[in-house]
Amino acid sequence: MFANSIKIGFKKGMETTWMLAKVIIPVYFVVTFIQYTPVIDWIAEVFTPLMAIFNLPGEAAIILVLGNVLNLYAAVGAISAISLTSLEITVISIMLSFSHSLLVETAVTKKLGVSATKVVLIRVGLAIAGGIVIGRVGMLL
């Protein structure tokens, strides 16, 4: 049973990794390409005032959108493609860990009979609050 558990666990790990690879690699490619076009400057410029609230550069908006609409793995692909400081990555991680894969996970919570709107509001609210707090506190350190 022990060996079998390890085998199943390993298989699941491989499956998850494969699933991640299918998301991370295309996102990584797209984000890398975008970085060599004027689009990234445009996105950065538009989102700079908003992202400044969290003490993040404008480009970070791409990561937050990917994480919330798709999933964490797409966001991880984008994080590693864009160069960010350790503090910035931590702030983004906190925001995303509260609020991610909103489409899929909201469907799951809806199955439990809890108001979807409320759950989304709580998650996005936590992400914004967490991002502001850690972004500000981190800046002081």
């Binding site: 666990g9 699941k12 991880v76 994080i79 799951v108 439990l112 936590l126």
Partner: protein, 158 residues
Amino acid sequence: MMEIIKEATLGSINSVYTIAIIVIPIMIVLQLMKDYNILNKITRPFNFLSKMFNSSNETALPLLVGLIFGLSYGAGVIIQASKEGNLDKRDLVLVTVFLAACHAVFEDTLIFVAVGANGFILLGSRIVAAFLLTFVLSKKMTSKHNNALDQLEVEKAQ
């Protein structure tokens, strides 16, 4: 152009590799925990959670499963438990809120650590936020819940 393709290829393979060496061991450990029913055995020390939120002891298992394995697994256990009639509406809302703020703590945390985040700050703020939120809600919902029950009683009496 070739430079960009090379950068994207190497970079993406590198991130997938970093994640693979984290995800595969986690999946093995989680599978062992599941197969050996370790969670069922260790819920007792976590009953303090249900005491704190003033919810039924049955909430400890879905809470623990969701925290460790993720929202979908947690939801599975919650649905199962509520089918068996062990959870009321209030328990359900509290568990869902807690798990919405904080779930799959090993996987989510380590994936971000792999790309350079500070895991202690990340996990710490998630857990603190989930506790605070659920605690506040549990205080608020007690009265609401009782009122609803009282109303039901009144309606029945009429």
